[in-house]
């Protein structure tokens, strides 16, 4: 196989992985604070449709992105209220959020299907870095949001492991009773993380409708939100590992097209299945791994905190 095809595959893999990465980083933040939000898919869809609509009317894709982030945050607020204040079952609440988001985005976007969009995020090669052989082609010839996602990985990592607030946040996810006793506001931290996670999911959706495939299609996330949830486990709640995972899934996602261009005959339905098959496989492997290692999930994950029930 030619070198250029490999480069194209890996380079589009990065792009295809970017929405998954945004969503996974958001979910890492959420789960580190002890809340499981399975509404990622729904928040992404609402983000995607909001971003598309706002960009259409304002002709400014940055405005679209901003409103997608706001929309994702508002969606997450529903989950935060249900799971933190009302202490509802987080699985049920998250699933409801996904179903709600799917329906809402379909309703809002029913007149937008097939409408072309001109104001999109376009690739901006970074001078110097993009000249590096291989790495430059794979990593540094993309749009601005991809570069933002690189930055976010390191910011989130530093925040979680090197700052006081990050320490408090992890304590809330591991042992909220201990955090509460130490004078940390468990509810405020959980709210903030769930909302911030939703904002990132909104951005992930906007990436799909404004950069990756600039258009609106009903259900255009096609399960990427779920892959992001699985990726959090794959990445053992660590932003650095989440990048590797999203790159991996992004590459598998686009592999189908690449294979078709070089003439390998594989049914397209099979290729569409690939990322999900890998998701299941990865979950099996990682779950077995986390059982024996000490990198288990945050201990209080998905357990509502009730001060009176200590």
């Amino acid at each position: 196989m030619e070198q250029s095809i490999w480069l194209a595959l890996l380079s589009t893999g990065v792009v295809a992985g970017t929405p998954i990465l945004f969503a996974a980083l958001g979910e890492i933040l959420t789960e580190r604070a002890g809340i499981l939000n399975l509404g990622v898919e729904g928040m992404m869809l609402v983000g995607a449709v909001t971003g598309f609509m706002v960009t259409m009317s304002t002709h400014n894709q940055w405005m679209g992105l901003l409103m997608a982030i706001v929309a994702g945050g508002l969606m997450a607020l529903i989950h935060a209220f249900l799971s933190i204040t009302l202490r509802a079952n987080q699985v049920v609440s998250g699933l409801a959020l996904t179903i709600f988001g799917t329906g809402l985005s379909g309703f809002l976007g029913k007149d937008l299907i097939g409408v072309p969009l001109t104001d999109t995020f376009k690739p901006i090669p970074i001078a110097g870095l993009s000249e590096i052989p291989w790495i430059g082609d794979i990593l540094f010839k993309h749009d601005a949001l991809v570069y933002i996602s690189y930055g976010l990985i390191f910011i989130l990592w530093f925040f979680l492991y090197r700052t006081k607030t990050g320490l408090e946040l992890r304590a809330v996810g591991e042992n909220p009773a201990a955090a509460d006793a130490a004078g940390i506001n468990v509810f405020a931290i959980r709210y903030a993380c769930v909302i911030a996670g939703g904002m990132l999911a909104g951005a992930a959706g906007a990436y799909l409708s404004l950069a990756y495939a600039p258009s609106w299609l009903e259900n255009m996330t096609a399960g990427r939100g779920w892959i992001a949830v699985a990726l959090v486990i794959f990445g053992t709640w660590n932003p650095l590992r989440a990048f590797l995972g999203s790159f991996f899934f992004g590459t598998i996602d686009v592999m189908g097209f690449t294979m078709q261009t070089i003439g390998i005959q594989i049914p397209s339905f099979f290729l569409k299945m690939l990322p999900y098959i890998f998701t299941i496989a990865v979950l099996i492997v990682v779950t077995r791994e986390t059982k024996t290692r000490r990198v288990a999930s945050p201990e209080a994950l998905s357990i509502p905190y009730n001060r009176e029930e200590r």
Partner: protein, 499 residues
């Protein structure tokens, strides 16, 4: 240093503290002694700012203070080591110490914090590695981490809630040595306890609470075990348990070279060899977390056996399910009465029925019969059930335990496995449970009694096995051995079996 004057605290329907006065001086170790429900925890919760008193005054160094929250209490130099440690397990000692601490920079330097923690722990003789994660530490080390955490916050008044409950006798001795050192450095130490011997050996003064009232404060030097017991219970109590001579029959339970995994996939039981005969009580001593729970679960059929063999009455039941174990006559009274033992939201009748539902041949429930049988048990064991149709979670610990044990005994089991059966019970309920276990032994049942209380084990057991790190350190005759020897075995020393 601290004075609590005429503190009264009411909860709906209960007078938890009734004009209690209590004072501690700097440089003193002061014990707060009393049974469960005597009001010790409420009083200390008031001092730590968790509850607010309805009446009364708190003075610190002579000045009246108003403690509105735990933060206020910390600001006044009051710190508490809770019975259940408030530590984040994946974090290091130093990370736990700075958690929620004011004056820590947003981007902190963990190295310099490690150093100041190490320095502080050296000062008080509390050996601890600041950079080791909590989950790697023993319970004693975790307790030291909690103490260092409190000292780091500038505490002058330290409250410890049942600090030795989870320690070996040697670790407990070390703890009191540290506490003495802290008192010598001018701290005031309050120890909440119900262990008479320990309080008598290591404290300067003792305040006894009973039924929410203060019975009095005595100097430790001037009091005795008898006097303290009378103060605690309000009447003289038989501390000695009267026991018939042991009348062993055939082997009921045999464990041969038995190994089993714990929840984290490591071996929690290693090559256990233990036989229990009908008509005897075999006690299992050990610090919590050394394989006791796994042992009980293995015997009850709830945990898979990796290697080795388990027999009941000579039948190989190594691979038996819990149902088969029940059919073989094994009865399990687990550690958490209101979780594994009983279903909190079901009522007494339904809970009673859970074990007997297989006895309903038609598959339909004969409620009349169940009601009658439950009423018999309730009457026989004097269980206070206001209404047998209320969920059992509304019952007190003692009544729950009597209901659970009554249900198990009603099936006339061959073997009773019981974990911490007396934990958290008042003296009256404890006496009932003790005599029930002895009655079962005299009836010919084998009893496996797992406990942390050495007094209890020495009083009830005919033989005593000591677990450490999932291994049996030895089986001894409690009448021919001392607390100290058993304590050494609990810490991992092997002893020749003589029992």
């Amino acid at each position: 240093m601290v004075e609590m004057i005429n503190i009264t605290k009411r909860f709906p329907g209960i007078l938890a503290n009734d004009r209690v006065s209590f004072s501690v001086k700097a440089g003193e170790i002061h014990a707060l002694l009393g049974e469960n429900g005597a009001g010790k925890s409420t009083l200390m919760s008031i001092l730590t700012g968790l509850y607010r008193p309805d009446e009364g005054e708190i003075r610190i160094q002579g000045n009246p203070v108003d403690l509105q929250s735990p933060r206020d209490a910390v600001a006044h130099g009051i710190g508490m080591v809770h019975q259940h440690f408030k530590l984040v397990k994946p974090f290091t000692v130093a990370e736990n110490i700075i958690l929620g601490l004011k004056g820590i920079k947003e981007v902190y330097n963990l190295k310099s914090i490690d150093e100041s923690v190490a320095q502080l722990s050296r000062e008080y003789g509390l050996h601890i590695q600041p950079d080791s994660p909590i989950w790697q530490l023993s319970v004693g080390e975790q307790q030291r981490a909690e103490i260092v955490k409190i000292l780091f916050r500038g505490a002058e008044i330290l409250i410890l809630d049942e600090p030795t409950a989870v320690l070996t006798p040697q670790e407990a001795k070390d703890l009191y040595k540290t506490l003495r050192k802290m008192a010598d450095l001018g701290k005031a130490i309050i120890v909440i306890s119900h262990k008479l011997s320990e309080v008598l050996a290591h404290t300067d003064a003792i305040t006894v609470l009973r039924g929410g009232r203060s019975v009095g404060t005595v100097r430790t030097k001037e009091t005795s075990e008898m006097e303290l017991t009378r103060m605690m219970v309000g009447r003289p109590v038989m501390l000695e348990t009267v026991k018939n001579p042991v009348n062993r029959s055939s082997k009921v339970l045999e464990l041969h070279n038995l190994s089993a995994l714990g929840n984290r996939g490591q071996f929690a039981l290693k090559e256990i060899n233990l036989d229990i005969y009908g008509g005897e009580i075999v006690g299992i001593a050990g610090v919590a977390g050394n394989g006791q729970r796994e042992l009980a679960e293995v015997v009850a059929g709830l945990r898979a056996i990796e290697r080795g063999q388990k027999k009941v009455d000579g039948n190989d039941l190594t691979l038996a399910s819990p149902k088969q174990m029940i059919q073989a006559g094994v009865s399990y009274v687990p550690e958490d009465r209101l979780g594994t033992g009983l279903v909190p939201n079901l009522n007494a009748m339904e809970n009673y029925l859970l074990k007997g539902v297989q006895k309903m041949p038609s598959g339909f429930i004969n409620w009349k019969q169940v009601a009658q049988e439950t009423a018999e048990v309730i009457k026989k064991y004097d269980i206070k059930v206001p209404n047998p149709k209320n969920p059992v979670k509304m019952l007190s610990g003692g009544n729950l335990q009597k209901l659970l044990l009554g249900r198990e005994i009603s099936g006339k089991p061959r073997l009773i496995v019981t974990m911490y059966p007396m934990r958290g019970l008042d003296v009256g309920a404890m006496e009932t449970i003790r005599s029930l276990l002895l009655q079962e032994r005299d009836r010919g049942a084998a009893v496996l009694l797992i406990s942390e209380e050495l007094e209890e084990l020495f009083a009830l057991s005919d033989r005593l096995a000591v677990l450490h790190g999932g291994e049996v350190m030895g089986v001894v005759d409690p009448h021919k051995t001392t607390f100290e020897d058993v304590g050494l075995m609990m810490a991992g020393k092997r002893m020749a079996a003589h029992g």
